[in-house]
Symmetry: C2
Subunit: 308 residues, 2 copies
Amino acid sequence: MRLGLDIGGTKIDAVALDDDSAVLARVRVATGFGPDAVLRNAQSAALQAAEAAGGSASSLGSVGIGIPGVVDAEAGVVRHAVNLGLEELALGGILAERLGAPVRVENDVNAASLGAYHLLGLAGSMAYLNLGTGVAAGFVNDGAVWRGARGTAGEIGHIPIDPAGIRCACGQVGCLETVAGGGWVAHKWGGDAPLPVLEVFDRADAGDERAVALRAELIGGAAAGVRILILTGDVETVVIGGGISNLGDRLAEPVRASLDELARGSQFLGSLELSSRVRLVPAGEPVAAVGAALSGPRQNTKEPSWRS
Amino acid sequence: MRLGLDIGGTKIDAVALDDDSAVLARVRVATGFGPDAVLRNAQSAALQAAEAAGGSASSLGSVGIGIPGVVDAEAGVVRHAVNLGLEELALGGILAERLGAPVRVENDVNAASLGAYHLLGLAGSMAYLNLGTGVAAGFVNDGAVWRGARGTAGEIGHIPIDPAGIRCACGQVGCLETVAGGGWVAHKWGGDAPLPVLEVFDRADAGDERAVALRAELIGGAAAGVRILILTGDVETVVIGGGISNLGDRLAEPVRASLDELARGSQFLGSLELSSRVRLVPAGEPVAAVGAALSGPRQNTKEPSWRS
């Protein structure tokens, strides 16, 4: 059995997959804060997922982990996962020892990319456009994640698209993230709604002008992200995921319409058929946890069933 | 022996490579205009290169061709090569019959990418930033060209970077090409110098304010191209090529300085060490022709020597 853990800012989403990569069980536990809590809860989530799938601690095949921050996949080390209180943690090595199973650590966006690719049954090339607090992308080609030469592929949120834009937290001006990142939308909108982007969309539907403008900016930014990904990598499919993608077709339809509008102004863009290449991540599925499981150490081999 | 032909707007650059991919001979002939002329001159260039290398028409191993326009590499067909007077031409099939050797047709930027990768002795991942009349990029990873899902990877010249910019020929506004493309620089500069970008650099050195501004815009655009390529694909190396790269360090040094300036304003960008990843294409080398030869049908096999 392969376990996958998606360690997020508030919860750990854990799944157990069978030999055919179908989800046998899914559990969620609170993440906690700081290295001790994260390690303890990750271990607990893994064991609970194994147990829920009918397995035991002694029958774990492999464990894959998706986690935010800068991940050194080779060393199993995560750094600068600020929201989790982790400055530097040898997550892979420590959990492997505690669980008695091989553990692979992957950047959360890369894990989600692989999960989306699998759950959508895609082939060929795909980019995963993660619209969450920030904006980043992951790439999968023929089932393999492209991490880049130094593990930083897909940082498209920090490509500047407007010299007259606002200053990004990264120090540059007019980054894509400043128009398409949920953190910036929330900051511009103000208030303390638990789901500020949802509130912006709801208020825009109700005719609030400021909300309409913010929504249009977000939609335009998402379309710009799709355009960057296809003009650069010519991926066959761009899958929109991340927290904002929970808006579903309320997000995807206007993004496609925005791309169609761009195509009407440019025969060249039109020839690329951008809008028809946009997909939404499947709603409610544990995309990142499944991807983490698939990126685990035994990704390409059939394990013996733990039910022996 | 492997032959490589780089079919450009004015000349065909042809090389013959030995089994170790070293250049045995190089010849150049005028391209001509329209399908009949291009086919006749390509055939002639191939035979002259073979002869100059000591071979004969009956001993050609493989022929690779780099050509501008929209290339269907599978079918060997080139479309919309406007500067060559080619609307649609089954270049690969026709030349294969005339030469009695397998022929592979490749987009010129992809061919140059592969040639630069080989001539610079690179490993891992590379993007080739072609600064010519237009702006486009090619990708090579572990020696293989990434063409994209539909053969259009690397069209970064048409990523808009300034909503207040000028309208590009593609119909969009503020495309990277409108600041970093030689065609646009020439258009803005005016006059009829044979090498307008060189004239702009010379006049900028002499203190002409308009030239200084145009040069700064071009340098900034080239730096933006490097940033897009690394933020998206995290390639280890970006090689600057194309006609404008003939300026050598007069181009590369200020591009690196521009990237260093950006890094001083952004710790995040600084961590990516952009400027140290920029290389220039080797001066005077037949980069595209060599790459075309390497992309020929027998790219991965040692051919028997034609000297038998």
